[in-house]
């Protein structure tokens, strides 16, 4: 651990040195009329979350092209620089150092909280503004970095929404929570436990499974004996689908639902249409459930020839917001962009008006509840 920290420090220092020399050149050249603003994009484009990363990259590219077509920001074009964090903390550190040393003025993206946490420290040290458009662990704002802004509501807010749905809407009392021991899912499980207890419910089971395995029946049999009214899975869709399938097969009581990490149609495919029926999803608003996003979806489909994934709309909005802040800052100075971002007031996005609290999180949570009906997600 110690040596790892030292290595991290050394990397950070060396990158800080690098970034101290290289960006000057960029600055000088951008002083002229032909300047560009370099913005980094950090997403996972390999590994198990690769699809999410591709989705986000597409949405960010789309927003950037639209901004550039309209003349860019005060005549300067945005240039994107992509870095893959593979949803892995070590790769993420390398990706962050790469982007910082290339002299990016801001970074956007971030799908996995586990990868976002270590890299946000590197950006913080270099003073680079960070726009997080998918990762939502409450640990990210808790670090207290003033450069970091989240356009998705945090796990704290998601926990509140989940607890409220299970206790008030479903009228449940006994809640079971299952996670997979990853940073994001365990955090969400813990905050949900607190939220359920605070709202007067009872957590009858708090379990973890190994997502690399496929058989969760032993754990589910234990769960069944507790007779839960609602079961909440906080991790990702691949194991979530199996969990729902085996949950129904064993006939565990009550409803089963998932957090926004499992918001993917593959969840229903893996679970099977019958087993997934009536499962609920607590999620940030995705494009297909926002009436105003219709034209966004059409353009996205015709451009990339696929359905927009769950984090495309937020990423698209995040890029627009970032460009807006750079415009408001009046320069591409990093500190000025950070200041402009923190002063964002009611910026119009698909998910609602965005203003930031002092810790960089959304002032107003925007979670919605989806339910599976006939093999489709439908809005409650």
């Amino acid at each position: 651990m110690k040596s790892w920290q030292k290595l991290g420090l050394a990397l950070t220092l060396s990158s800080a040195l690098l970034s101290a020399c290289s960006p000057e050149a960029v600055n000088n050249s951008s002083g002229g009329g032909s300047g560009e603003i370099l913005i980094g994009v950090q997403t996972p484009t390999t590994g198990s979350s690769a699809k999410m990363g591709e989705d986000m990259n597409n949405a960010i590219k789309m927003a950037t092209e639209e901004i550039n077509e309209k003349g860019g920001i005060d005549g300067k074009k945005i240039k994107l620089e992509f870095a893959d964090d593979a949803c892995d903390p070590q790769t993420a550190t390398a990706a962050a150092n790469k982007l910082v040393s290339q002299g990016v003025k801001a970074v956007i993206g971030f799908y996995c909280s586990g990868a976002t946490l270590p890299s946000s420290g590197i950006y913080h040290n270099a003073g680079v503004p960070v726009m997080v458009t998918a990762a939502s662990s409450a640990k990210i704002p808790a670090q207290g970095y003033k450069e970091v802004f989240l356009t998705t509501a945090t796990t704290d807010q998601q926990s509140e929404a989940a607890a409220e749905y299970m206790l008030k809407t479903l009228g449940g009392k006994r809640v079971a929570i299952v996670h997979d021991n990853t940073a994001f899912a365990k955090g969400l499980a813990e905050t949900t436990q607190t939220a359920v207890q605070k709202q007067g419910g009872q957590v009858v089971a708090f379990e973890a499974i190994n997502p690399e395995e496929k058989d969760f029946t032993a754990m589910l049999t234990q769960l069944k004996a507790q007779k839960p009214d609602a079961t909440f899975w906080t991790a990702y869709y691949a194991a979530g689908g199996l969990l729902i399938k085996q949950f129904e097969q064993l006939g565990v009581s009550g409803a089963i639902g998932v957090g926004d990490g499992s918001n993917d149609k593959t969840l229903i495919e893996i679970a099977g249409k019958e087993a997934a029926e009536d499962a609920f999803v607590i999620t940030s608003p995705t494009a297909e459930f926002i009436p105003e996003a219709k034209s966004f979806i059409d353009t996205y489909k015709s451009k990339f020839n696929m359905e927009p994934g769950p984090y495309t709309a937020v990423s698209y909005d995040g890029m627009r917001l970032l460009a807006d802040a750079i415009k408001r800052a009046g320069s591409d100075d990093k500190a000025a962009i950070v200041k402009a971002l923190s002063e964002t007031k009611s910026f119009k996005t698909f998910g609602g008006d965005v203003s930031f609290k002092s810790d960089g999180t959304l002032e107003k949570s925007n979670f919605i509840v989806l339910k599976v009906k006939n093999g489709q997600f439908t809005r409650e």
Binding site: A218, A238, T266
Partner: protein, 297 residues
């Protein structure tokens, strides 16, 4: 009682998968003293071959498609096993054990990343899945698919046991495991028998991969890693090199995991199962059925 029965059923299913893969580990170790770490990945390859064949048949795959896919997985897995042995292990048979062990790790990585590049990194949903209907027995749920899995495993294991103990080829295998050189002096084609061993072990793993795909319904290029590790553990518990030991080891590990969950909670099940493993090995280093040297193969 209801809980106990249900956990026994759960254990039996997990144990069957472990046992089928453990058999291949044990056979290969018995005959050339190699821990074939690529073995778990043959389970994964089997699942993907089944996936490819079933996808080829399209949506309306009947029983015929499933049977064809099953034998395609079996055959392809077996031939791949022979190929791996020929290319990666046979040239190294006389080098130190460590060299060939590292080669096995390399083969494992080649298979994982090869499948990732050809099928993509995301999870695949199996085109045909076993139905989840079943009936109640002592208050526990037992599905027809589970009965099928248990029956098929027992069938494959019995067939293998009879083959090794009764047939001439089986006799040759057992002879090689006792003394390589002497067997070859008797005029037995040692390399051919080793190939045969790889074929049988690998096809069993591939077949169980296909079964797992249809039963659980979701596959990925990394699915062989944990299962391979667990199956290796099962082989060691049972006594590596012993065929009945591999079967027993699979069941014991399945039971340990299920009842570890019951007694200590799901987060502790691996801690529990592997503590027992250490205990078994300290008290009986040869594993549960490992002492009977003449029965090794």
């Amino acid at each position: 009682m209801e809980m106990f029965t249900q956990q026994m059923i759960n254990a039996l299913i997990i144990g069957s998968f472990y046992a089928l893969i453990a058999l291949g580990y044990s056979m290969v170790y018995g005959i050339i003293k190699l821990l074939n770490f690529a073995h778990g990945d043959l389970y994964m390859v089997g699942a993907f071959v089944g996936f490819a064949v079933l996808s080829l048949f399209g949506g309306g795959t009947g029983l015929l498609g499933v049977v064809v896919a099953f034998f395609a997985a079996l055959l392809f897995g077996g031939l791949l096993g022979i190929g791996i042995e020929r290319v990666a292990y046979r040239p190294l048979l006389s080098s130190p054990r460590l060299t060939i062990l590292i080669t096995a790790v390399g083969v494992s990585l080649v298979l994982e990343n090869g499948v990732m590049k050809s099928f993509g990194p995301s999870f695949k949903v199996y085109p045909v899945q076993l139905p989840t209907e079943g009936f109640q027995i002592f208050g526990a749920t037992l599905t027809y698919a589970q009965i099928l899995i248990i029956l098929l495993s027992v069938l494959l294991m019995t067939a293998l046991h009879l083959f090794v103990t009764r047939s001439l080829y089986g006799k040759a295998m057992r002879a090689i495991s006792i003394d390589h050189a002497a067997t070859s002096l008797m005029g037995i084609p040692v390399t051919r028998i080793i190939s045969l061993t790889f074929f049988i072990g690998s096809s069993l793993a591939a077949a169980s991969g296909m079964m797992a795909g249809m039963y659980y319904g979701q596959i990925s290029f990394m699915m062989g890693f944990i299962v391979g590790l667990k199956a290796f553990t099962a082989a060691v518990i049972g006594g590596i090199g012993s065929i009945p030991g591999a079967m027993l080891g699979g069941l014991v590990l399945g039971l340990l995991e299920s009842f570890g969950t019951v007694w200590l909670g799901s987060e502790w099940k691996d801690v529990f199962a592997f503590s027992i493993l250490i205990l078994i090995l300290v008290l009986k280093p040869t594993g549960l059925l490992g002492e009977n040297v003449t029965e090794r193969m």
